[in-house]
C-alpha cells in the first residue's frame, strides 16, 4: 500500500513523501532513525555551523493555543560532530538525508560545503532563514535576493550534492527571492521556515516567555501563510519545493501538494501527534487517495498556476 506513496526527488527515489525538517528530532543518529522508522521518507539534520553552538538559554520553546513559539538559537555540535551522527545514521538506514548548514557569509558556507561533500549526506540544505539569531547576526540572508543569489551560486560551484535553499516567509516578495535562488543554481527549495518572529508574555512575572524574547512561530496557525507562499513560488519557478508549515494531518499535506509542493515537511506536529505522526499522515494521504481515486502521489492534482 505504501508503494503508492513512492516518489522521486531530484533524481533520488523516495519511499515516502514526508520530510523531517531541520530542528526536529535531529540531534542524534538515533533521533533521525526513529523518525525514519516512523514514516519520514527523508530526514534533515540539525542546521550545522562550523563551530559548536550552545543556542539560547531557556525557555527556548513556548506553547500557546494554536502553535509553538521557539528560539532554540541554532544549538548544534558543529559540522564535524554533526556529520558523524549523519554518517552513523546512514550506516543503519537507506533513508536519504538532507544535511542542513547555517552560516552568515559565503566563506563559511563554502567551508561547510567542503565538509558536507565528504559526508554520506544526500542533499545540502542552506539555512538562509533562521529568524532566531537576529541579535547575533541581524536580518536573515533570505531577506535579500542579492545575498541569496551570491551564497547559492558560490555553494553550487563546489557542492557535490544537490542544493536546497531554505527560505523565510518573513519577506515582502517571496517570488523575487525564490527566483534568485533558482537562477543561482538551487536544485530545490524548502519553505517555509518559522513565521514572525513573535512573542508571548508571562503576565504574572511581567517577562517575555522566551529568554530570547522573540521566537519563530510554527504549528497549525502558520499553514495558510505557508500555502500561499508555496503556491506563489510554485507558480513562478520550475524547481521542486519541499513544502512545510503547520502540516498536522493528511489533508494539510494534500493542500501542500496541491499548492505545488513535491514533498511535505512535518515538524511541530510531532508534538501534537507523537513521533508516529509521519505514519499517521502517510495513512491519511492514502485514505484521501482512495476516496478520490488517485493511484499514485503524482496523480494528486496541483492548483492551476498563478498567472
Amino acid at each position: 500500500m505504501r508503494k503508492r506513496l513512492k516518489t522521486k526527488f531530484l533524481g533520488i527515489e523516495v519511499n515516502l513523501p514526508l520530510v523531517l525538517p531541520a530542528g526536529i528530532m535531529d540531534m542524534s543518529f538515533s533521533g533521525l532513525d526513529i523518525s525514519a522508522k516512523n514514516g519520514a521518507g527523508i530526514v534533515t539534520s540539525k542546521s550545522l555551523t562550523l563551530e559548536p553552538r550552545l543556542g539560547h538559554k531557556g525557555p527556548v520553546v513556548a506553547e500557546f493555543e494554536s502553535g509553538l513559539l521557539n528560539a532554540v538559537g541554532l544549538c548544534n555540535p558543529g559540522i564535524v560532530d554533526g556529520l558523524t551522527e549523519i554518517n552513523q545514521f546512514k550506516e543503519r538506514s537507506d533513508t536519504p538525508v538532507i544535511v542542513s548548514v547555517f552560516a552568515t557569509n559565503t566563506d563559511d558556507f563554502s567551508k561547510l560545503t567542503n565538509h558536507v561533500n565528504k559526508s554520506r549526506g544526500d542533499f545540502l540544505e542552506l539555512n538562509l532563514s533562521c529568524p532566531n539569531v537576529f541579535d547575533e547576526f541581524g536580518i536573515p540572508l533570505a531577506a535579500s535576493k542579492d545575498e541569496v543569489f551570491k551564497i547559492v551560486k558560490a555553494v553550487k560551484e563546489i557542492s557535490r550534492l544537490p542544493i536546497i535553499a531554505k527560505l523565510s516567509p518573513n519577506v515582502y516578495d517571496i517570488v523575487e527571492i525564490a527566483l534568485a535562488a533558482e537562477k543561482a543554481g538551487a536544485d530545490a527549495l524548502c519553505m517555509i521556515n518559522t513565521v514572525g518572529p513573535g512573542m508571548l508574555i508571562n503576565t504574572k512575572m511581567v517577562k517575555p516567555v522566551l529568554f530570547n524574547k522573540f521566537g519563530g512561530l510554527s504549528g497549525p496557525c502558520i499553514k495558510p501563510i505557508a500555502l500561499k507562499l508555496i503556491y506563489q513560488t510554485y507558480s513562478a519557478l520550475n524547481i521542486p519545493i519541499i513544502g512545510m508549515g503547520g502540516v498536522t494531518i493528511g489533508e494539510d499535506a494534500i493542500e501542500m501538494i496541491m499548492a505545488g509542493a513535491t514533498l511535505v515537511g512535518v515538524g511541530t506536529a510531532v508534538y501534537y501527534r507523537g513521533i508516529e505522526v509521519f505514519d499517521k499522515i502517510n495513512r491519511e494521504i492514502i485514505e484521501f487517495m482512495d476516496e478520490n481515486n488517485y493511484d499514485n502521489l503524482e496523480d494528486i492534482p496541483k492548483l492551476e498556476k498563478l498567472k
Binding site: M25, D26, M27, S28, G58, V72, C75, V209, V270
Partner: protein
C-alpha cells in the same frame, strides 16, 4: 496543550549546604519520576524531578550546581517561578518485595516513590547512599515512612561504609549463599528501582540481571515536549522527556550509550 503555570514558592527547606527543597501549592497530579521544567525568565529553564506530590502540594529538591540554581537558591517564600509539566514516564508501581537503590542527589525522587509503593501495599527496602554524611539526603524523612532503609556512605561517616553498589552486592550475595536462589527463580525482590549517577546504575546492571527493574536516566533537556531531540538515547532514539526518564529493563539492555556517553547542550557527545 501543556499549560504553563506561574506559582509562588510556598516553602523552602534546607537539606544540606547545597540542596534545598521547594514546595508549591498546586494540584500537579504527578507520578513518581515525572519532572517539571522550571524558569524564572532570567535565563535558563531546567528539569527537576518531583520529590513529593500530594493532592494540593508538590515539591522539588534542588542541588546548587551552576548559575541557574544559584539564582534559585536566592529566592524566598512568596517569590514567583514558572513551570511546565509534569512530563515524562513514571515508575511502575509494583506490589510485593521491592528494592530501591538510590545514590546522592537522586534519592529525593525515591521519597515520593516509596510513599506511593507503601500506599499500594509493597514491602519497601531502600538503599540510600551518598559520598559522605554532609551529602546524605532525606534520611529523617524516609525513616518516617515505615519502610526499611539502609543508609550508607562511601566514607562510612553515616550508616554503613560503602557505596550503594557495594551494599547491593553484599545483600544479593548473602541471599544467594543462603540458598534462596531456588525460591522465585532466584529473585530476591519482585521489582528493583534504581536512581542515581549513571556509572552507579551501570555498575548495578549486571548485579540485577535476574531481577525486573527500572532505571531513572538523566540527559540534557531543552523542549521537554519531544520535538528538539536533545535528550534522545542511542541507538533507540528514545526521547527521555517523553518515553523516559524511567526506562524498563528491556530498553535499558539495548542502550549503547548507557554508561558510555551523553550529549551536552550543543548535542556534542561527552564521554563518561
Amino acid at each position: 496543550m501543556n499549560k504553563r503555570i506561574t506559582l509562588k514558592i510556598a516553602g523552602i527547606e534546607r537539606e544540606t549546604n547545597d540542596i534545598k527543597t521547594y514546595s508549591f501549592k498546586h494540584s500537579l497530579n504527578a507520578q513518581p519520576a515525572q519532572f517539571i521544567m522550571l524558569t524564572d525568565f532570567e535565563g535558563g529553564e531546567k528539569p527537576f524531578s518531583i520529590s513529593d506530590c500530594t493532592e494540593d502540594v508538590f515539591s522539588i529538591t534542588v542541588k546548587r550546581i551552576g548559575e541557574f540554581t544559584t539564582r534559585l537558591f536566592q529566592k524566598r517564600v512568596g517569590d514567583y517561578v514558572s513551570i511546565r509539566g509534569a512530563f515524562g514516564s513514571s515508575f511502575f508501581v509494583s506490589q510485593g518485595k521491592v528494592l530501591l537503590i538510590g545514590g546522592g542527589y537522586a534519592v529525593p525522587t525515591f521519597y515520593f516513590l516509596s510513599k506511593v509503593l507503601k500506599e499500594n501495599g509493597a514491602e519497601v527496602t531502600l538503599i540510600n547512599g551518598a559520598r559522605t554524611k554532609d551529602e546524605h539526603l532525606f534520611s529523617e524523612k524516609l525513616s518516617k515512612l515505615g519502610i526499611k532503609v539502609i543508609n550508607t556512605t562511601d566514607d562510612g561517616t553515616f550508616g554503613e561504609k560503602g557505596t550503594s553498589v557495594d551494599i547491593t552486592k553484599r545483600m544479593l550475595n548473602h541471599h544467594s549463599q543462603a540458598g534462596a536462589w531456588e525460591r522465585e527463580n532466584g529473585k530476591m525482590f519482585d521489582f528493583v528501582y534504581v536512581s542515581g549517577p549513571e556509572m552507579m546504575m551501570k555498575a548495578l546492571q549486571p548485579l540485577l540481571k535476574d531481577h525486573d527493574y527500572e532505571f531513572l536516566f538523566e540527559r540534557y533537556m531543552k523542549c521537554a515536549i519531544g520535538i528538539c531531540g536533545n535528550c534522545t538515547m542511542d541507538p533507540l532514539g528514545i526521547r527521555l522527556c517523553v518515553e523516559g526518564p524511567v526506562l524498563p529493563k528491556k530498553l535499558v539492555e539495548q542502550l549503547t550509550e548507557f554508561g558510555q556517553y551523553h550529549r551536552d547542550a550543543t548535542g556534542k557527545r561527552i564521554k563518561y
